[in-house]
Symmetry: C2
Subunit: 225 residues, 2 copies
């Protein structure tokens, strides 16, 4: 297996190099970039729509949609009035920096305040691929269960913000909030936490405020450049 | 990227070779083997517990639990009175045949009728790694949404049986059963379909009957060997 590991390192190093190029571009244009990670079906797209509702028109948001196949998500985002680029990975289980580089070419970076990269629905592989983002944000949904931090610790450790979605269905699921919180406390005590229902638009304001704060920090930093 | 692809092929070929060895072992002992695939949190472990409730003591069931980290699932299965082996992949996003080979060494194959391999929660990567199983069975849960076949077609195409879990919460989610069914019809018309609620133990009998039928077929085949 050492051959595989060596190649993985090469692949990851190359990805990291391109991620730094992406990062320079983001900084140059003062864009706050979120890499959004979650399982399939935890509500990434509806959470993005909820953020758009809070933050547009004060901020310009663009979205890069990563999917194995289909472009339904990008269409949904466009219908909400934001720029969206679809990346079809053709079977690959995560996004890589070179895919982001291509997507950036079709966006007008001068006009963007916030770029949200919706990664492929996968709690494992995307964690290893830095795309040049300011923050990884992960979404877990209530129906997935309170034990997920135990089983997929990597993504919970890597996230700057942990969003618990679908809190409107807490009454019909056996989800122990105290236990869940204690797992996060142990794995990543510094993570910001938000409990939301994207479809019912509950709790989204606090999460949106965190994003807006990110934009302010990036603007300060890009003025210093 | 051709270097990567070449190595992937080598890795997949090696995996396939070991899968065939696993398969010979399963056939020799007349074991019906299911490779269980789903997203994190769709209810693989509770679905296995529901099957155990239907099929034990008529059949002996053993479970191989694949996880990135933790052994909570294996403990749960053992508490239900079945043999269980935990594989921690150490970060890897799928199970491979060589991991199964190691796990088989600690099981008493003579005593097993049904082996359920609970793969890592991931709708993408495990599909490419044949483990020697008779059937891939995939679980989608209602909260994940009716559009998942569009976004993760590979796993829906590879599955001999598609189990829709958590049907007890259909009233609180916007899940279009007709649309979901039409996606499966298009991708994999031959797949067997079962709608269940593992935790409420609804609809599990039909799925269990399909598993029992698999055991009978394997027994006939192993008598012919």
């Amino acid at each position: 297996m050492s051959e595989t590991l060596e190649l993985s390192h090469k692949l990851l190093d190359k990805n990291e190099e391109l991620a730094r190029e992406n990062r320079r571009l983001f900084d140059k244009h003062g864009i706050f970039v979120i890499n959004l990670l979650s399982s399939p079906g935890s509500g990434k797209t509806s959470s993005i729509l909820a953020l758009i509702k809070e933050l547009v028109p004060e901020y310009n948001i663009a979205v890069i949609e990563g999917d194995i196949a289909s472009d339904v998500d990008a269409q949904t985002i466009k219908e909400a009035g934001c720029a969206a680029v679809q990346i079809n990975t053709g079977g690959l289980c995560h996004l890589e920096s070179k895919m982001i580089q291509k997507a950036l070419k079709v966006l007008d970076l001068e006009k963007i305040d916030i770029l949200i990269i919706e990664n492929v629905g996968n709690l494992v592989c995307p964690v290893d691929f830095y795309l040049g983002e300011d923050a990884k944000c992960m979404i877990l949904s209530v129906p997935e269960g309170d034990d997920k931090p135990l089983k997929y610790p990597g993504v919970f450790q890597a996230a700057s913000a942990v969003v618990l979605n679908k809190i409107d269905v807490l009454p019909v699921f056996d989800f122990d909030m105290e236990l869940f919180t204690s797992h996060i406390d142990r794995l990543n005590p510094q993570a910001k936490r938000f409990n939301i229902s994207a479809t019912k638009h509950e709790g989204v304001d606090a999460w949106a405020a965190w994003v807006a704060e990110g934009v302010q920090q990036v603007r300060l930093r890009s003025q210093e450049l």
